[in-house]
Subunit: 403 residues, 5 copies
């Protein structure tokens, strides 16, 4: 009846090209924010307030229950909601984490809503398409928390999933539409038995879940930072083409998107910190204060990267301009040297003839042509012109690559 | 006397070219904000405060009355205001939605104002040219709500109409100057009988109307997002010309305009949430809080698109610069190859003759001309020059298209 | 003794070139904010606080008195201040608007200050060079209001004059240094007898004056909007030269200046709305709230235009760049076609002679020269080169004008 | 013993080149903010809090005492601090302004600190290198005011000196490290005997000193405004070279610096206005409110100039681009005309000979060469080509200077 | 047992190239914010809240104890923590500064935490990777202060280390992961015996430590300012190449980073100033207020430099554009002069022969060729063309270097 919790095999994600590799190019999105468009289109379907609907393409739900107190621990995947509920109700002395993954069972969702007295509007936020991070108080002292879990895909997109958490007197219910998540570290901390989670009230578990999501912002940021470095190197190695600008703007879009994700996270925690001590005791607040520092530092990092990206755009444009300059210099040097030379040799190609048809000799007509030293002297003159110009261009620094 | 409410034929809008199509080009406005100018000009006509006037070109009013309670439902279009009023007054136990479409009857407007005790200044806002979204409290606990309903036209304009709502103890009066609107989903929800609207006080109806307007912002945003993608593809396919910049700036203007529309909407709802619980009960506020989330998300989307558009401008300018670069490279490659060649062949076109008129032979004068291998060697030299330059340009990457 | 108020001839302003016309060009100011400099210089003269001085070049004062109550109305221009005062004091039961136009009589100004108990510092603000819009409370419940009346001159300047208003229990004193103003609509509303002004306390008159100034911002904005459209059309018709940039930046300066004018106006009204109900009764506040909406909408319009202007700058710069592109393309096409051709014909101009001076024939030396098909074949080759290049350029789209 | 106050000879500053003149060029600083660097370096010397040290290079102190009441007035420069103190202590019924110019006497500074009960930290601010404008309350109701006096030097630098003021029950002590200052107008107002300063408490003197410093911001601003106009004219007269950009950026730096100076001034006065009425009586606050308006207007002016300067940068860059355009057009016109001509004449320079060495005549070989009309026809053809191109360029508007 | 405190040898840092030198170029980082990335990566390791871990690569701890009161002073480095604790506990009448340098001993860190009752979360902040400056109150009236000490390395990086301070009733514990620091000036002030530190409570020591860190921001700023000047000079001397842009952007990144460091410092001190007087007495607050001024001035300086850097970017880009202009001018001048000349000489190279093969003479065919004055006249013509063009270019100002 019960699956063995020790058998919970979390399928590893398939090997993917590293985000820095330019191999993933074909599938790379552009600068337009397609996520935003998708989101706008999804929102526009027009949910009626207070009517539960499940987002298309969501997964069939899996139910996990982690029950623990200072000494006890049990982790189970239930295939039947009723059994879960029975166990939950039979053990009011334990603390429980009901971990729902996948939404695609409207009836189940509605039962959860009723059994745990969740507000329909909040349940809509859970099942809906997109909800900014937020916290809401309901039933006087219960919390409804929405967090957004991020991931940086090899296609340079920020992928974000929603984690919704309801707290109760001795339980936490979490909802997400994904079987794999970033909460495993919390699970293993409870499992390990040494964690504070086991000693503290369930609010601490809510905090731990919130915190672990925030912690997962840093690898996303680090991946973005690495990619910015890759782009910078490309520009410096003179391999910047227009795809590089595209990527720069793409990363800029990601950073903007990331800020849009983190900013409400900070707001959320600030609101938690402002809540009455009866809702959130002072000692739990201390932990959330730590969260707050993390959220601010994530914002700082995003700002930092934003500056870097805007510097990259400056570099790219200046590089583009430099390259134009280089092209112009080649043209100018070659034209400036050879056009005058062409004139000189053209001069001696004219048909001013010393001997007029009537036999008279016109000594003014290019006497050089008839002197033994004429041709060598001319060649010397041409060499002189070339040398003079080369010296001029060298002095201007146009012959060295650096400028 | 009464038209059959089931016969309410809503004329479908004529088939229009898709917003993405470039066919609509002739009529496309520019970057200057003509709506703003029109608005400024309209405002400048100088309404005297407290004097009702009807905007030129507004439609003759049509009066609809939806009356309902938990069980009852009736939807009627009245041709006579008196009959409407009679029915309304005869049924104080019902909840009513008086839906006025079209303003062009000053006498009727003044009667409505007096019968429902509306404030002249607010009535002016209803009939005037442009009013930002706002909420005002009057008669201690009645609400006056202004919303702006948006539409994205095939000409890439954001078209916005005003919806003004007054609440009363058991009724809601809505005003708009358009027969077709985006409120049909609310009507059909009441009609269907299952909606919460029928169980909740009229304030919930006011909320539903406000919410449906907000929900209609998303398709507008999605249309803008689609169009941004179209423009991006055009630039990437190398088909960007100056009209593309015009469109980008046009869309940017639209987004700015959209933000101007949504921002007061958010303010409005925030003000509603700050109102006293006696005016708006806590449970209705919960629904408005949901609205607030939607307004913030619409703002977020607008910000997102704004970033995308500014990236598009960067892309466009860089593309323009790239193209100049390409032109210069063609010029430079061809000039650099052929100008030196021309010099060489010019050299051998000079009239330095081996045999002076007096018959003496000057062996210094271009001996190559007289050698059997002279001409082939020269051709070989020319070929060498060309090859050398091509290698140089290839190494610089100027021969490949990508840079 | 009294001039006939019905004879008040308001001299119409002289016919001026339309703001959109480029005829006014000579006198057009530049991008530097000369008004600001003038203002800075004026302020720097160093008024001693509390010492009344009259701005140089101000007009000799004219005194108007409009006295009214619900039924009575009288409008008079007084040439003697004493007579005005006598009438004013003799009729405490009436409401009065003392309308002072022109400051150039220090003695009169000081008498006004004393008779109506105005504060010296405020009187300085009245007579001084420039005062932002503001409101101050004095004598516990009297208001001192400064508004700035704008005008858009044919030279594309925003001209602004100051209107200072003091309220009293049954009177309003207004000061301005101009005989013609934008307050005529208020005057005629009082004259007409139907206006609310006659029924409401004098505070309503103060409101009406404030509002009419705000209303006059819209024609200014509309004129700016029209001019932006003119500029945009010029750029699109390819008639943009550097004067266009100058005008764009000029208009931008005007808009910035306009925002500097409107922003304190909004602040002023917000401060009025925050005042205690005993100073400004709730029902008058409702009217000021309407003003507030207008001020915000004027700010919105200014923001809108600012965006338009910044888009215009983008358009202009891109246009400039486009034109450079076009020049380069002409150069490149012509050079690319003819420079290779020149090389080919130069080749056949070389003096490699088939017949060496010693009579031996070198068959390697350009045999084409001696073949009957040589010359036509060469011409065909040249034509081929040209055709090939034209096809290449056509494919690149360089021959069509559009790019 | 006492120097005669009527003999106070204020040495006039040496004749300097006008700020607008480009003669001062050599000494002109660049865009880097050397003042800031100097300030940073000075601060980094590491003063120990609470230890008085005197800034290197400060002047030996001169002590002035102005004592006055409604009727009495005496102005003296003391060479001995003890005598000053004796007089001051002997006349508690008078109001005193102790005016200390120059810091370079640590012992004297410490005596002043002890005799007038000044706080060591504040005294450090007085003697230190740089202190933003601020106000601090000490001893419950005494004020410590720091103002910054500005000057616009001929080298386009904003020179600022610090004025520190301590108030006491019947005295004001001012410190500055300069013998000449901008406070003379206050002194002469006291001297003249008509000023309000003589009738009001010493706080009014503190106000007057603060105000006169603020008033001196306007000439600085006006000088900057004048200089912006000079630069604009230079660009318009086509005399803009790279030095002009340098100056524009220099002025921009000055304006930024000016804002940094004025902003805390505004903050300072706002804080004064928020102080308790017992510290600053309501009627003195009214005067400070006037100051506040001035500070805001100075900020407004600075913003205004900032916009102007950024427009100047746009103008300059567009001018630079225009000039490049012009260069390109000359190149293109000349190349486009003569390169094809060169080809044509090259064509007829080829050695396709009618008469082959074997005497056969090839009639296909350039028959024009042998026709009587050949040469004139060719010249006509060349003229035609030239004319055609000139028409083309004229139509493009490239021959007129304007574009 | 005890090392001699007088023997504390602080190893001087190795001689480093001056920050301004371009010798350090190889190691110079780019515009991407690698510190931020490193920080993000470090944070992402996922510390479990409440579990102490020591950052990899941290130093083995050294323990210093400075004990003092008004008269007593002792400074010791302890090798055994127990001895330190014994001395500390044996002298509750003294004030103590426990100065811990290096974290690499988890057991010791945990003992410190328990013995001095430090909060685990705060201890985590101490040992963690990066913590913004902040202040937290714990145990009701104890302070936990985090400061960031900056250094400007020769590689133009801002190096920052964390200083964490806990206060207690009669002690201060400071933690840092570096043996050398910027606190020596505080130590020597205590040693010297004259400092206020010895007379004031330990909070004053906490202030002194905070202040000395702030004071060390100024040399960092001054170094940045110097480097900006170096860069500016390079651009003006025409030695700007792309490395210069890289450095400009690098410095910009540093300034942004600096602001990120200083901003929370200001927040921290503002929060201290807002704390209750029982936690921080009024007279200590006065000193912190001084700190606050310093923090604001550091922010001001950073803003100032930011403006300078953005001006540098403008200068650089304009310089780049100028150089392109110069290249184009050389090309245009040489081409414009020689291309027409080439045409003319090509003209006389044509084979229009006076004497047709049949012996008839065609007098229209370039009669100049057969005139005695022909060749000199042609040379004169060529000279004329050159002169004319040179005059034209001179008038345009293209021959002078300045434009």
């Amino acid at each position: 009846m019960l699956s063995d919790p020790n058998n919970l095999t979390v399928t590893p994600p398939p090997a993917e090209p590293a985000p820095g590799s330019f191999a993933a190019d074909q599938a790379l999105g552009g600068v337009s924010d397609r996520d935003a468009t998708r989101q706008a289109r999804a929102q526009s379907v027009g949910q009626r307030p207070g009517t539960l609907t499940v987002r298309e393409g969501s997964l069939p739900p899996r139910l996990f229950l982690i029950s623990y107190d200072d000494t006890f621990f049990q982790e189970t995947e239930y295939t039947s909601y009723d059994e879960l509920l029975d166990f939950f109700r039979a053990h009011p002395e334990l603390r429980h984490w009901i971990d729902v993954r996948g939404y695609n069972d409207l009836a189940l969702m509605e039962r959860l809503m009723q059994d745990f007295n969740l507000h329909p509007l909040q349940m809509e936020d859970v099942l809906g398409d997109y909800q900014r991070a937020k916290v809401e108080l309901f039933d006087d002292n219960r919390l409804f928390l929405v967090s957004r879990m991020t991931d940086f895909t090899p296609l340079l997109e920020i992928d974000d999933d929603q984690l919704s958490i309801f707290t109760g007197p001795n339980y936490v219910i979490s909802f997400q539409d994904d079987y794999d998540d970033c909460l495993d570290s919390v699970r293993s901390r409870i499992r390990s038995g040494f964690s504070k989670i086991k000693q503290k009230p369930v609010l601490y578990l809510a905090y731990a879940l919130t915190d672990v999501v925030l912690d997962h912002y840093y690898p996303t940021m680090a991946a973005i930072g690495d990619y910015i470095e890759t782009l910078e190197e490309r520009i410096f190695n003179g391999r910047s083409d227009r795809r590089v600008l595209n990527r720069i703007l793409h990363i800029k879009k990601d950073i903007v998107r990331f800020r849009r994700l983190v900013y409400p996270e900070r707001e959320k925690i600030a609101e938690i910190l402002r809540m009455h001590d009866e809702v959130i005791p002072e000692d739990i607040k201390l932990y959330f204060k730590d969260c707050y520092d993390h959220a601010i530092q994530a914002m700082d990092l995003a700002e930092s990267y934003r500056e870097s990206v805007s510097s990259l755009v400056d570099l790219y444009l200046s590089d583009q301009s430099n390259r134009m300059n280089e092209v112009m210099k080649v043209l100018t040097i070659i034209s400036s040297i050879f056009i005058p030379l062409s004139f000189v040799v053209g001069l001696y190609g004219m048909n001013f003839q010393r001997e007029a048809p009537d036999g008279t000799i016109n000594h003014l007509n290019m006497p050089e042509l008839y002197e033994p030293w004429g041709y060598p002297a001319l060649l010397a003159l041409l060499a002189l012109i070339v040398t003079g110009q080369l010296i001029y261009f060298y002095r201007k620094g146009w012959l060295t690559n650096g400028r």
